[in-house]
């Protein structure tokens, strides 16, 4: 507590007693907790957020290494792979094709379910929601703790899969049956797929707990005076994301349980009759009855519908919080109110609503009734509209501001720049006839990496730089941060931009060695270019790692509000103690009052009464 008061004194804009007019908030007793209760089995939302943050960053490194291995194979197929060559003595160090399928499957799975979702909703959701709405903690702190601890079995299963016979799941992160349900179909479908399904189910459980908690907290625990329309956009985006998770996740969980049943109890939800996979035939009484799904008569398309009914909203789960962070960071560092706050909120809702009726655009060429393709095309094209509105509003936010080009601002601007690319290239995919050609080509790869990597991950970087002072009471080094930004931005664009052209040339994704095809053989040089750029980009992240850990312990100490931001979390000490706020809060306005003519300073905190 004493530390907190010193920080309060450091802050020039928060006079003591400022929040006195508000109701007196619940006072949290401070009794010393043991190491286990404080850092491992903590119920404090900030510690849980950190847990998500650190495990997410570890998996980010793992998924990144896999991406490097994939790129290596695409540039120099069947050359001995540095670091992995020892696993393949027979081939002289070249990876085997089933290992490649495992690599991209697990790259996708880890990046989506173990990096982006935990980082966006788990880490920042947990850390920011109570702070930004002026609450002492989450509505259900214990549920929150279980939310993280449900991730532990997920980590266990997803790592276990690498060590089982046949390797990890190798059916793509989409796991289309029958490839994934029939054990004989792929080495990864032996046991790895079961680990994959269990891992995913646990991630789902964790996300559900988190989502219930976030929605309840935001609805019920806002500080007095903090109406819904005064919420920062980060909170809005996290709430919409949680609603998406609440409504979409049960479908995925159900689907993955169905697939688990197909695999273990030989039900036949997704397996048609009369398959001969890897020479095992259902009508042979010897192997048939208990290996390919005795009941069979299933429908592989059913999985695709169920999977995409979750996974398309999941794409928005991956980007909506990033949009929220960006809106906040742009406003703070441009010293400008968010342009069109209400349209921003409505467009978030529109994206979430439309997000539920566009899943079919992943299935245009799947054999689904083409008439459905028409309707899905219209809804998909229309979902570009709220995204466009958001982009225009971000530009409007910059207009007329007083921009400080600090590291978080740079990353946020880069998010806008690259989200434009990712969003616009999505229109090609939505257009059904064009999608006939570009479906499953590298345009798709370029598109979703521009949204999820260049978009969301850059927003995560921005958020880390922006809220780092609140997390640790210290700022990250500006110069190193800028160096990190420059390299990341350049190399990210060099890596992913050329994938558009490679995709237009027709290159398929998920092929271990495309160059034996006559139509693709001239693409090797450009793939080498992409690979080298990707290596440089990966290596460049060393600046982030060094900066992050160095600043954590030795960074410059700052007060409560180093960016002079107006939202509530900057009212709390840095780092906030147990219970977050050391003063009662009352909110009088929205979170983006910058450059107001009413006061001398260029911002008005939400809690200041004029």
């Amino acid at each position: 507590m004493s530390q907190a008061t010193t920080h309060a004194a450091n802050s020039p804009h928060l006079e003591p007693g400022e929040g006195e007019a508000g109701t007196v908030r619940e006072h949290h007793d401070h009794h010393e907790l043991g190491f286990l209760r404080k850092w491992i089995f903590s119920v404090d939302h900030k510690v849980i957020g950190m847990q998500f943050l650190f495990s997410g960053l570890v998996f980010l490194a793992l998924g990144g290494l896999m991406a490097m291995a994939i790129r290596y194979q695409l540039a120099w197929p069947w050359r001995p792979m540095p670091g992995l060559a020892w696993m393949f003595p027979a081939t002289g160090g070249a990876i085997s094709p089933e290992f490649y399928t495992m690599l991209f499957t697990m790259h996708g799975t880890i990046m989506i379910f173990f990096v982006m979702i935990p980082l966006l909703t788990g880490a920042f959701g947990n850390f920011l929601i109570p702070l930004m709405i002026g609450a002492p903690d989450m509505a259900f702190p214990r549920l929150n703790m279980f939310g993280y601890w449900a991730m532990v079995p997920a980590f266990f299963f997803i790592l276990l899969g690498f060590f089982v016979e046949g390797g990890h799941a190798a059916g793509g992160w989409t796991s289309y049956p029958p490839l994934s349900t029939i054990e004989a179909a792929a080495p990864g479908s032996l046991t790895g797929q079961t680990c994959w399904l269990l891992g995913l189910t646990w991630v789902g459980v964790s996300s559900m707990m988190g989502a219930v908690n976030y929605v309840t907290t935001i609805v019920k625990m806002r500080a007095p005076g903090l109406t819904m329309m005064r919420l920062p956009l980060t909170i809005w985006s996290l709430m919409i994301t949680s609603l998406l998770q609440l409504f979409a996740l049960p479908v995925l969980t159900a689907a993955s349980i169905l697939q688990l049943l197909d695999r273990t109890l030989n039900t036949g939800f997704f397996t048609p009759t009369n398959l001969q996979v890897n020479n095992i035939t259902p009508d042979s009484f010897l192997y048939g009855a208990d290996s390919v799904g005795a009941a069979a008569g299933g429908q592989p398309l059913l999985w695709q519908h169920l999977f995409w009914f979750y996974s398309h909203p999941a794409v928005y789960i991956l980007v909506l919080p990033a949009m929220g962070f960006t809106s906040d960071i742009l406003a703070v560092h441009a010293r400008k109110s968010v342009f069109g706050y209400k349209p921003m909120v409505y467009s978030l809702c529109a994206i979430a609503g439309l997000g539920f009726i566009v899943w079919g655009h992943h299935m245009f060429t799947s054999g689904m009734n083409p008439a459905l393709g028409m309707t899905f095309m219209v809804s998909t094209v229309m979902i570009a509209l709220p995204s466009a509105i958001k982009v225009f509003n971000w530009l409007g936010t910059l207009w007329g501001g007083r921009i400080h080009l600090r590291t978080p601002m740079l990353f946020a601007c880069a998010f806008v720049s690259m989200f434009i690319i990712g969003g616009l290239s999505g229109i090609w995919m939505a257009a059904t006839p064009v999608d006939i050609y570009i479906h499953d080509t590298y345009i798709v790869v370029a598109h979703f990496h521009y949204v999820v990597f260049a978009g969301s991950l850059f927003a995560i970087f921005a958020a880390v730089y922006h809220w780092f002072p609140k997390m640790f009471g210290r700022v990250m080094n500006e110069t190193v941060g800028k160096i990190h930004f420059v390299g990341s931005f350049i190399f990210t664009n060099m890596t992913f931009y050329m994938m558009h052209q490679v995709g237009v040339a027709g290159l398929m994704r998920r092929t271990a060695d495309p160059y034996a095809y006559d139509v693709y053989q001239h693409l090797q040089p450009i793939n080498e270019f992409i690979t080298i750029s990707a290596f440089c980009m990966f290596a460049w992240q060393i600046f982030f790692v060094v900066n992050f850990f160095h600043s954590m312990f030795w960074g410059k100490r700052v007060g409560r509000n180093p960016w002079n931001a107006a939202s509530l979390e900057w009212d709390a000490p840095s780092p906030p103690g147990h219970g977050n706020f050391d003063r009662p809060l009352e909110v009088y306005r929205g979170a983006y009052e910058f450059n107001s003519p009413e006061v001398a300073e260029d911002f008005i905190p939400q809690t200041r009464k004029l």
Binding site: A90, G92, Q276
Partner: protein, 459 residues
């Protein structure tokens, strides 16, 4: 401060450019593959000691390397008598005649090369040199093309250069080393470095990839003898349907023949190894004479392949209702065809003699194993999937001469070739779709050969 960042970006770009330059000059090295001895050679006896002494194993490995080279530089050792005949199996150009490899017309090979390298040839004709891409798996051609380009600077490239360049591609035939590289990239992960069917992917395949080292190949036209070049070529060209062996027609005919060359080398190497192991087990010692004897013997077997071909003379008869009915009788007759006993009365591959009850686990297990020790099931004939090819003549050969290395026996001598054809017709009819059959019958008896199939569907 203001200069630091641009400087840093510039140095980052410099790093990138230098990485690119590094790549231009030297790609990552190709993997180094080693031949190892088969598990039969290195097996341990009941006493825990190797059956074949370590020194003898080293001797076998040394002999094999002397005779067949390494995966990076595979080459046959030349026998003295070959020199007199002018026979050299290492010659990189396509060998005509002699060892039974003259079955391919060189002109056909050139024509196929023209088709296969059409992109490159078009680029050469147009003088677009940077569009002449040579793939990674033709390292010898790439080296020759680079050498040719290095000789002549871009501005001096006239029609003569174009002609030379065209010839390079049109007459391409891979060296053994280049074929070994193609093998490493495309085949090794299933078939293993020494063709033992034990690559990293192999454990997940059913049936297991072929182990060449026995010298036995199932789907040939030579009965149970060593296959001819054209038999191996057909497998590469058509694939083995119903297994994980795809068709490799994506490569040029020259490259596939190169692969056949290399598979022959691996197969001979394995046979020599087995023969040396047999000699050692018998005599407890090995001499260099044994090695050369085994080598000569194996070569003779392979060179004789052509004379072993089993042909059917005459026209393939067309099926009729009567031949199919007769075929069914033979199929079900225990004395003549006796097919049902393994393939089942309905041809579903569930005949009683193909299975036994395991007394310990009380489970029904396959009764037979093939020469490689894998459990084997009779084919389900109703699927219409025939690994050795679905042509009538293919099925005829399987029935008449049996399948090398597996339990499928030769046909009883009491069956005439007409009988066998009737069996072929019956087997072919097993996978007919009833609805479609009705449609076909309708077409035959209805209003001409090309009536609307849909009307048949509706019946």
């Amino acid at each position: 401060m203001s200069l630091r960042l641009p400087l840093c970006a510039v140095s980052g770009l410099a790093l990138w450019v230098s990485a690119c330059q590094l790549d231009k000059d030297q790609k990552p090295a190709r993997g180094v593959v080693h031949y190892s001895l088969s598990s039969a050679t290195t097996a341990l006896g009941s006493d825990g000691e190797p059956v074949i002494s370590a020194s003898a194993q080293a001797g076998i490995a040394g002999s094999l390397e002397m005779l067949f080279g390494t995966p990076q530089a595979p080459s046959y050792q030349l026998l003295p008598e070959w020199k007199d005949e002018g026979f050299d199996p290492n010659w990189p150009q396509y060998p005509e005649g002699e060892d039974g490899s003259g079955e391919v017309d060189p002109a056909e090979l050139v024509a196929n090369n023209q088709m296969y390298w059409r992109r490159q040839l078009t680029a050469i004709d147009a003088g677009l040199w940077d569009r002449v891409f040579v793939q990674d798996f033709t390292p010898d051609l790439l080296a020759r093309w680079k050498a040719l380009c290095a000789e002549t600077p871009v501005e001096a490239r006239n029609d003569e250069f174009k002609k030379a360049a065209r010839e390079l591609f049109e007459n391409y035939y891979p060296t053994l080393a280049a074929s070994a590289e193609l093998y490493r990239q495309q085949c090794l992960h299933c078939h293993g470095p020494e063709g033992g069917g034990n690559g990293p992917t192999a454990p997940f395949l059913n049936p297991r990839p072929r182990d060449y080292r026995h010298g036995t190949f199932k789907f040939t036209a030579v009965g149970k003898a060593q296959p001819r070049r054209v038999d191996l070529y057909r497998i590469l060209d058509e694939g083995v349907t119903g297994t994980s062996m795809p068709s490799f027609r994506r490569f040029s005919r020259a490259q596939l023949h190169g692969l056949v060359d290399y598979v022959r080398l691996l197969s001979m190497r394995g046979m020599v190894e087995r023969s040396l192991v047999a000699t050692y087990t018998e005599e407890e010692t090995l001499t260099s004479g044994d090695t050369i004897d085994a080598y000569t013997e194996v070569w003779e077997k392979w060179q004789k392949a052509d004379s072993k071909v089993l042909n059917f003379d005459g026209l393939v008869p067309a099926p009729t209702a009567e031949t199919i009915a007769h075929g069914r009788e033979l199929f079900m007759d225990a004395k003549t065809g006796n097919c049902f006993s393994c393939h089942g009365p309905e041809g579903r591959g569930d005949g009683t003699s193909a299975f036994v009850l395991n007394p310990e686990t009380h489970k029904v297990v396959p009764a037979y194993k093939d020469d490689w020790g894998n459990e084997i099931l009779p084919r389900n004939l109703r699927l219409g999937v025939f690994r050795g090819g679905g042509r009538p003549i293919d099925i005829y050969r399987r029935i008449k001469y049996g399948i090398a290395g597996g339990p499928m026996p030769e046909a009883a001598s009491s069956l005439s070739s007409d009988d066998i054809w009737h069996l072929v017709h019956y087997v072919g009819s097993l996978s007919e779709r009833p609805k479609h059959k009705a449609a076909a019958a309708h077409a035959d008896h209805g209003d001409g050969a090309h009536s609307d199939g849909a009307s048949g569907e509706k019946h």
